[in-house]
């Protein structure tokens, strides 16, 4: 970046003394549109007063009420002997006497204040550049902070083995996945969680501490005893020393985290009273929750009753389809099955008030930023067993049977969710956003034949294109093919394009 002499124009001084408010107002309304009303003003007024066109390079004269395209504003300022005009796309000020655009620190300051108060963040206007310390300051900064971490493709920062505390691999692999969720990492490393709770009871604080541990550059494996204890106290069905289901653990953990975010963060009370919240403020909800739309269609009167529920649990069936279909073989198959209309049998229709055959269809109304798919590999079934006895009395009992479905399910590195979103037939008020692509960043695998035994490992993506296999305290480098060829139990996808709210 070239360093530009900030105050390069002498002519602006007079203007700043007398008319700076004109600049402030014109910039606020026509460049950044600080409120909804100014947007209307802009649309009605911003066109070239000579040729009536909207551009290119529409400018506003800063001395009188005149708008002009590139050609006509130059003619106007020359004819009227007006000195300053402003480009309406970026807010640069042009000086006729200098015959070029000028920089001025005072004007920049006003422009920045306006941009910060804009109604909507505009990518074109807020282009942050990286900050470089000056040469003379550099030595001081380096002395103040002797411990530095440099990130190169070979560095292992962000990777940390986790000790197995006796069948806690289900927890280790979920923690690995959470630690490598890009948006969650950004949230915690920028220290956004402000806690109001009792010290040592908040799971969010513990997660925050773990992020610090993961990214401080140490390589010694960590023991998650504190996290385990917190989970045991907050989700009691998981307490105990036996192996647990990683998916259940994940869902419970998100639940507890969400609850703590809501209860313990100080801004909670103020937001809920002043604004109507359509989406919950907790970071967990913002990242993981999507809106699941369920349409109940009565086969007789075709009435549709629609409900939308927030959810972060996307569990996909793997068993054979009932009506002669083949079992799913890919993630896309599973999702098609998940969003297919399903017969429910007789249900009372709320519109024709009679019991009718109905179908139910699930679609995604809003997409979460991180979507975690749970492939239901564990099938619970009850089986009746007879005990052979010598008497004529048959003794039978039920046994819970766990069957693991070993079908291989292929899953892509990049997934487009557009086909599984709700189509709005009636109105175009919520158009489907154009880019709904996701990329894979973590996979959790289960090795073994039953839910209560076996071992969990995780593949995580770090630094965009490097994959690592996390097997408790052992971390090894992996490649994409290995990841995509693995069995897959929980699949974590991160959205490419994060839309504005």
């Amino acid at each position: 970046m070239d360093i530009v002499d900030e105050d390069c124009c002498q002519h602006i001084e007079d203007y700043k003394r007398d008319d700076i408010n004109t600049f402030r107002v014109v910039h606020a309304i026509f460049v950044v549109c600080t409120d909804e009303k100014s947007k209307q003003t802009k649309l009605k007024n911003a066109f070239c007063h000579v040729c009536q066109r909207l551009g290119p390079h529409l400018h506003a004269c800063l001395h009188c009420v005149f708008f002009g395209c590139h050609k006509h504003i130059r003619e106007h300022t020359a004819d009227m002997k007006h000195c300053f005009s402003m480009d309406l796309t970026y807010g640069q000020v042009h000086c006729t006497k200098c015959d070029d655009y000028i920089y001025d620190s005072k004007l920049d300051e006003i422009a920045m204040t306006n941009k910060m108060s804009a109604a909507k963040c505009n990518k074109r206007l807020l282009n942050w550049t990286s900050w470089e310390p000056l040469e003379e300051d550099r030595g001081d900064f380096l002395n103040c902070n002797p411990k530095r971490i440099c990130i190169t493709p070979d560095s292992t920062i962000g990777l940390r083995g986790l000790l197995n505390l006796g069948s806690t691999c289900f927890m280790n692999c979920i923690v690995q996945a959470l630690m490598h969720t890009p948006l969650l990492r950004d949230y915690f490393l920028s220290e956004r969680h402000k806690c109001n709770g009792l010290p040592g009871t908040c799971l969010v604080c513990e997660l925050s501490r773990l992020f610090q541990e993961f990214y401080r550059g140490q390589r010694v494996p960590l023991a998650l005893n504190k996290l385990l204890h917190l989970i045991w106290t907050h989700a009691q069905q998981l307490a105990g020393y036996e192996q647990q289901d990683a998916h259940e653990f994940f869902i419970e953990t998100l639940g507890v985290l969400h609850k703590h975010c809501e209860e313990l963060s100080p801004q909670h009370s103020t937001i809920s009273t002043t604004e109507k919240i359509t989406k919950c403020a907790s970071i967990i909800d913002q990242i993981f929750a999507g809106g699941l739309q369920s349409d109940l269609v009565c086969q007789k009167c075709n009435a549709v009753s629609t409900t939308i529920d927030p959810t972060w649990d996307f569990s996909l069936d793997l068993g054979p389809v009932s009506l002669g279909g083949r079992p799913p073989s890919s993630l896309i198959d599973c999702l098609e099955r998940y969003t297919r209309p399903e017969h429910l049998g007789s249900i009372k229709c709320s519109s024709c008030q009679s019991y009718q055959e109905s179908t139910k269809q699930l679609t995604l109304k809003t997409l979460p930023i991180v979507v975690s798919f749970h492939l239901k590999r564990f099938q619970h079934s009850k089986e009746v067993r007879f005990l052979p006895t010598k008497s004529s009395l048959n003794v039978f009992f039920f046994i819970q049977k766990e069957k693991k479905i070993l079908t291989s399910i292929s899953f892509p590195e990049m997934l487009d969710m557009t086909p599984f979103m709700s189509r709005n037939k009636t109105s175009s008020s919520y158009p489907i956003p154009p880019d709904n692509r996701y990329s894979l960043f973590a996979v959790i695998n289960h090795l073994g034949s039953s839910i209560n035994a076996g071992h969990y490992t995780a593949y995580v993506r770090q630094q965009r294109d490097y994959w690592y296999k996390c097997d408790d305290h052992v971390i090894t480098r992996a490649n994409l093919k290995e990841v995509l060829d693995s069995e897959g139990y929980l699949l974590f996808y991160h959205k490419h394009n994060l839309g504005y709210e």
């Binding site: 947007k39 209307q40 649309l43 130059r74 042009h94 015959d99 505009n122 990518k123």
Partner: protein
């Protein structure tokens, strides 16, 4: 008659933020496809070619614009056209 159609379009662009969305979309696409970097390089080249005298922004705009327009990929143009079509089709639906 012509004026009312324009009013309708203006009203429509205003209420649905369509103009903003399209502008933002084109901006994103042009950055993504590398067009902005190409134009930046062209500007740099123009500046270094002009020797000691530094050209003003206006001169750069005049010299570069023609070429820069030509460098916009067809896919971006097509997408923009499609987006505008979608907007204009909706204009008549919400006609007042």
């Amino acid at each position: 008659m012509k004026m009312t159609q324009e009013d309708k379009i203006a009203y429509h662009l205003d209420t649905n933020n369509a103009l903003d969305r399209v502008t933002e979309l084109v901006h994103t696409r042009l950055v993504d496809c590398g067009w902005r970097d190409q134009v930046r390089l062209a500007c740099r080249k123009a500046i270094s070619d002009s020797g000691d005298r530094i050209p003003s922004v206006d001169e750069l705009i005049n010299n570069i614009t023609g070429n820069a327009r030509g460098m916009v990929p067809d896919s971006v143009k097509k997408e923009l056209l499609h987006e505008l079509e979608k907007i204009l089709v909706n204009v008549d639906k919400v006609a007042h």
